[in-house]
């Protein structure tokens, strides 16, 4: 049970402060926390801090600090879960979580906090139950409208663009007022994978780890039943085998408690009645055994190893350099790439890399203390000390590394429902830590 809860911006300005028990300190505790956080020695963890008979525990989310204080010795996992759930809830009700949205919706936030926590004890965090109590409307910066899309089809023809919603389409507030039913019913389903890879200098794969989540954001009236079909060859664990091919395999899978799994065994269908708002339906992990080859390889050049139809977005290569390197001369293969030297490292930005292509760049740097200018990448002699591991960050749209795909998303038709709800399904892989040693 917590004593106080406050939200600070990334610079330490208090946005929200709420005291539940009145037994410790006043508003200045927020400043105290920020000072302590910035003054912490390097090896101490800032996650839980202690001052004056109080424990401060916080998470960072979207650039904000969400902090809770408590004087009891309670479970850190419950506290962290509560803070994450509050972050999601605030995001649902205000549209998205950020300094701007919080400052515009202060009254709503305080009302939410009142309902969620009573005297420091959690009452409920379910969006459903809270809807009945929350009266305030969320304030958005500008109402979302599909006409904002710059490319509406000519003559009403359906172009590629009208089948695609911008990625900010899901960031509007959950339907909170009971009267306004005219907004579109939509549901967004994301299959997001985080890829964490370590490649040794001789090219061998040291570690591969994929963490995946199926996230659902629903604006439908709650209680509507939904069925999500996954690839039928989806196997869990190393010993299962389905279908005729090698199948799509993950090591472990865990589901949200509201998902019904009766059809999962036979047809790989998940059935659930989601409340409004954001929900993580399923989490899975896969390590050491990717069915598809790795997206990127680096020898002297960067090579993108995938079919030609797909592409990678926002690829950035970060390569730490030996100390003292001051100048860089470069030769890049296309004008939209950029490379710059900053903070002891080389950053090479590739906005879009087409699948199956091979890109090369030549960088020459002067390293003081070494004879002659070395070329980029390993030569016959060992690389200079400080030429650190290259790390790549990228996004691969429409691609999942494990091969898992959502086959269909069906909604049980509600008789009093309005126009057919829109369904948006997205698959995405992005890099968590993709490191190639040189």
């Amino acid at each position: 049970m917590i004593s106080q809860f406050f939200i600070l911006s990334s610079k330490g300005d208090p946005l929200i402060y709420k005291d539940f028990r009145g037994d410790s300190g006043g508003r200045d505790v927020a400043e105290l926390f920020y000072r302590k956080l910035t003054g912490l020695p390097g090896d101490e963890s800032p996650v839980v801090m202690h001052h004056d008979d109080r424990h401060f525990i916080h998470i960072r989310h979207s650039g904000l600090y969400l902090v809770a204080t408590t004087s009891e010795n309670i479970s850190p996992f419950s506290l962290l879960e509560l803070l994450s759930r509050l972050a999601t809830l605030l995001g649902d009700y205000c549209g998205s979580l950020g300094e701007g949205t919080i400052s515009r919706n202060v009254a709503l936030v305080y009302e939410l906090l009142d309902e969620v926590l009573d005297y420091g004890y959690v009452q409920t965090t379910s969006t459903e139950m809270l809807r009945n109590f929350i009266q305030t409307e969320a304030v958005v910066s500008k109402p979302f409208s599909l006409f904002d899309l710059s490319s509406v089809g000519l003559f009403g023809a359906e172009t590629q663009q009208s089948k695609v919603a911008p990625s900010s389409a899901a960031s509007r507030p959950v339907l909170s007022s009971r009267t306004d039913q005219s907004q579109k019913n939509e549901v967004f389903l994301d299959v997001v994978e985080r890829l964490s890879v370590l490649i040794a200098s001789n090219g061998s794969l040291l570690k591969v780890d994929v963490q995946g989540e199926i996230r659902l954001k629903s604006f439908l009236p709650s209680g509507s039943e939904m069925r999500i079909g996954l690839t039928e060859e989806f196997c869990v664990g190393k010993s299962e085998l389905r279908g005729y091919g090698p199948g799509i395999r993950v090591d472990e899978v865990s589901f949200h408690s509201s998902v019904h799994l009766d059809e999962f065994e036979s047809h790989r269908i998940l059935r659930l009645q989601p409340p409004q708002g954001e929900l993580t339906v399923m989490r899975y992990q896969l390590s050491d055994d990717l069915p598809s080859p790795l997206p990127f390889r680096l020898f002297p050049s960067v090579q993108w190893d995938r079919g030609s139809g797909s592409q990678a977005l926002n690829v950035r290569l970060h390569l730490p350099l030996p100390r003292g390197v001051v100048s860089l001369s470069q030769e890049l293969s296309s004008p939209e790439q950029k490379a710059e030297l900053g903070e002891g490292a080389l950053r090479w930005d590739l906005p879009r890399v087409q699948g199956g292509s091979q890109l090369s760049a030549l960088f020459q740097m002067d390293v003081p203390g070494l004879p002659g200018p070395p070329g980029q990448g390993p030569s016959t002699s060992a690389p200079p000390l400080g030429l650190g591991p290259a790390s790549l960050s990228f996004e691969l749209p429409r691609h999942t590394c494990s091969g898992l795909q959502v086959r269909f998303l069906r909604l049980a038709f509600r008789p009093c429902g309005n126009a057919n709800p829109h369904k948006w399904v997205r698959h995405l892989s992005h890099s968590d830590a993709y490191v190639i040693r040189i």
Binding site: V48, F77, E81, D118, V122, S196, Q285, D288, P389
Partner: protein, 571 residues
């Protein structure tokens, strides 16, 4: 009172925990508890609260215990980490007499813990890593096959990387030692100096069991000639040589040449120590020490100078011809020109020792060169699970044992009440102190406040006899409101070493308590606390077996402070 998801659950729990009839009847209590566990309408917060309440429950028989564990099995597979950890802790505590059940549940919780360690949320990752370390204290092989999950990645914050390196150090076994050492070797050349040093210390930790490979890696690191790396490697060598004498030869071969790359105090001390103790195997030891002596005037760290004195004298015993001159110059400098008194004293001491003869010097300075048994002591393999089971899923593993100890000490001192020698409190001390003594008494507590001896065990009969025998030395009333909570009061008195002989139950009228305490000179204080039904005051009567007014006043002020604090907390 938490909501717990539904009214029914709250009703049931209230029944179980507050209704004395149910608590008295074992069977009814147990039925209510089981009904609560079976309730499916609990949300994850309710489940976590229920698991927390159940920690207080003591099953009577083994059958009942396994019944409850079976019911709780489903909680272990929940998607909420708070519930999973709460259930694990409950299992560990309920099954404290069945170590194989504890091991089973720790195997089951491996999956969720590993998932939390790779979670997107860094804070959750950190909390999970701390708990993994906790488990590794008792089951070192538990995570050995999953060592890859603990490799550090580039973008992680520093505190997570440090925890992961510690975990890697602790889960090393024969199968994964090669890969783990390679990975740690990669970290030793990391851009961040702190992290590189932590990795080197970790290799030093592993070196106690896998000495040869680690010494080889550390020797290679010396070849890089980087300051921050060399100093830590030399310190690691010093620790290693003390615990594992078999690697001394290899270390001595690696040392020459690294003195050029050490600038900081710790590194220099380590190097000088090594040269002193094992100097006969290192060919150029006297010359390195001579270099240090040449520069001793510009040496800023007194600790280095002290170490230099000892090391040079030791080396002199084994290689007298080469060191004699240098030793003389060093002693001259330390005695005549050195400003730091500690260094000068040591120099003087060694000079006189030398005057006493070489045999005396040998007798004093020839200490053992290594102590392998210390390594076994420190390792303290495999503490039993029960020693940390009650700390699992609390903030204790997240802080770490050392920091938690300091925190609870601070909290205990604060709760003891505000400062003892508060002179204003003497105004109510009663008519027994003559006016001229008051000033003296006011100064006294600052000097040496009353020292109450802990654990002074006075039996009830002894107390009664002494009580009836003595006359009241002091009486006082303190304002009070409402009923007394005996447990809180007893604990608070315990903190200041006042023992409770007898105390009425909460709500008894009139409410009485008898306390005893003894100070370090053997003076006994016996106290009666009385709270009348209608009064808003607590009466205190104190009896003393020796008539010493200062001690009495000290004791009274301690008592007042404690009772005053308890009174404030309630109101």
């Amino acid at each position: 009172m938490p909501y717990l998801g539904s009214e029914d659950v709250v009703k049931e729990l209230k029944k179980a925990l507050c209704n004395p009839h149910i608590q008295a009847d074992r069977l009814r209590y147990r039925n209510v508890i089981q009904r609560v566990i079976r309730m499916s309408k609990l949300d994850q917060w309710g489940q976590a609260e229920v698991l927390y309440f159940l920690l207080r429950y003591q099953p009577r028989s083994e059958e009942e215990l396994f019944d409850i564990l079976n019911l709780l099995d489903s909680f272990l597979k929940s998607s909420s980490p708070g519930v999973v950890m709460g259930a694990t802790k409950l299992f560990l505590i309920l099954a404290k007499k069945f170590p194989h059940v504890q091991t089973d549940v720790l195997v089951q919780v491996k999956g969720p813990l590993l998932a939390a360690c790779s979670s997107e949320s860094r804070e959750l990752c950190f909390a999970a890593l701390c708990h993994v370390r906790q488990i590794l204290h008792s089951l070192p092989g538990h995570f050995s096959s999953h060592y890859k999950k603990f490799f550090c990645s580039y973008s992680e914050p520093h505190y997570i990387k440090l925890q992961k390196v510690e975990v890697l150090c602790e889960l090393v076994n024969d199968e994964n030692v090669q890969q783990v050492l390679e990975e740690l070797r990669g970290y030793c050349t990391d851009v961040s100096a702190d992290f590189a040093q932590a990795a080197i210390f970790a290799i030093g930790g592993i070196a106690r069991t896998y000495t040869d490979q680690c010494v080889q890696i550390l020797t290679e690191l010396l070849g890089l000639r980087q300051d921050h790396i060399t100093t830590v490697v030399v310190q690691t060598f010093r620790d290693l040589v003390w615990l594992c004498p078999q690697c001394t030869e290899a270390v001595c071969q690696a040392l020459p040449g690294c003195e050029e790359n050490i600038q900081d105090s710790e590194g220099k001390q380590a190097l000088i120590w090594l040269l002193g103790v094992h100097g006969e195997r290192i060919p150029n030891a006297p010359y390195v020490l001579e270099d240090f002596v040449e520069n001793v005037k510009s040496e800023t760290f007194p600790a280095v100078k002290m170490e230099l004195l000892t090391a040079l004298l030791r080396l002199f015993l084994s290689r007298p011809a080469e060191c004699q001159d240098t030793l003389g110059r060093l002693l001259y400098y330390c005695i005549e020109e050195e400003k730091d008194m500690a260094v000068r004293d040591r120099g003087l001491f060694y000079y006189r020792l030398l005057l006493a003869g070489i045999d005396e010097v040998k007798r004093i300075l020839c200490s053992p060169k290594s102590d392998p048994s210390l390594g076994l002591l420190e390792d303290q393999a495999e503490r039993p699970v029960n020693s940390w089971a009650s700390d699992f899923n609390t903030l204790v593993p997240v802080y770490g044992k050392a920091r938690w100890a300091t925190i609870s000490k601070c909290q205990g001192a604060e709760r003891c009440g505000p400062e003892l020698p508060n002179t204003a409190s003497f105004a109510t001390s009663g008519p027994l102190i003559p006016e001229e003594n008051k000033k003296r008494v006011q100064e006294l507590p600052d000097a040496g406040a009353l020292m109450l001896v802990p654990k002074c065990q006075l039996t009830a009969e002894c107390f009664e006899k002494t009580w009836l025998h003595l006359k009241v030395a002091h009486q006082q009333v303190l304002p009070w409101q409402g009923a007394v909570h005996p447990d809180t009061l007893q604990m608070a008195l315990q903190v200041v070493n006042i023992q409770t002989i007898a105390m009425s139950r909460a709500g008894a009228q009139p409410w009485k308590a008898y306390l005893s305490a003894q100070d370090d000179t053997g003076c006994l204080f016996l106290t009666e606390l009385l709270l009348e039904p209608e009064n808003l005051e607590m009466q205190i009567s104190v009896k003393q077996n020796e008539a010493r007014t200062e001690a009495l006043n000290g004791f009274i002020s301690v008592l007042e402070t404690v009772i005053g604090t308890i009174g404030e907390i309630k109101s």
